[in-house]
Subunit: 160 residues, 2 copies
Amino acid sequence: MEQNVIDASGLLAISTRLQRLSDQIRKDGLLIYKAFGIDFQPKWFPVLYTLHKKSTMSVVSLSDEIGYAHPSTISLLKELEKEKLIRSKKDQVDTRKRLVELTEQGKTLLSTMEPVWEVIIKATAEITNTENNLMKAINEVEATLQEKSFLQRAEVYIKE
Amino acid sequence: MEQNVIDASGLLAISTRLQRLSDQIRKDGLLIYKAFGIDFQPKWFPVLYTLHKKSTMSVVSLSDEIGYAHPSTISLLKELEKEKLIRSKKDQVDTRKRLVELTEQGKTLLSTMEPVWEVIIKATAEITNTENNLMKAINEVEATLQEKSFLQRAEVYIKE
DNA sequence: TGAATATATGTAGTTAACTACATATATTTG
DNA sequence: CAAATATATGTAGTTAACTACATATATTCA
């Protein structure tokens, strides 16, 4: 019985520990960019990198791509617009849509960031290539949850 | 080169994905407690469970134990005090310290929660027992980071 | 074709963690 | 032993995500 209680503590703590780990990684990411003298925030990456790949996108499709709720994307876009890294224009076909793209400045910044990415790649590899690979574990958990949610799984045991 | 860019995108996305995963787990946790008719928030668990193990603790030692900054703990304690699940008293020896403990109500709640923990344990095991175990991966990454931070590792490559 | 529904964007407010600062009490040290 | 330093608690404000709601435009269907 006592063992179960201890396990529960460990398991329930997952969400907190995940969050702390993510904060730590983000903060160090910021410092790495600073060390390269680049004025860049890690949270900008998903938007900028997606625009780099797809060139122009609407707010919602961008949100879907990076996996954020659209208001989060809007607030990132506001920052990026202020930094002159992106600009937007109306879609001529569907006028509800706002099409977002990188500015020249944004494209230039992305290219100066390439050496930084390489450093980040190497450092991250060092950290995550442990016996149980964190990246792979996250992928596996996400896939497992997609099949059947945590709640649905718990419900099976509740009904027993 | 293109492969590196893609990797960088994936790696940098870790923090975001960790955060989303943790949110999801927390929300489902809340719903599981609801399904059992228990008025309990997952975020309360670390404090209550620690007090269950250690019986009385000061604010800072509690914060260290659960791994939160002390203001976060203080705000949790405020909620728990309002719910009458914990109470506090002054330390007679070191009067700076506030000693926190479970109320009878808190102890009762913890005992009604045991069957819920069992369900949560089983559901979590299903989800995390993939090829790369998420819990173990987190432990390993935390241990690796303790040895040498992400930033320190990156600095080695920067200096090269 | 126009009424109902769906989609795209945007705003406001919430949450749960954080850091920075303030104050009170203890402990250490010159 | 008193001045300097360290520790414990607390408050205020920040951050980066979220949900809920509002509005405008597009699409569908009776």
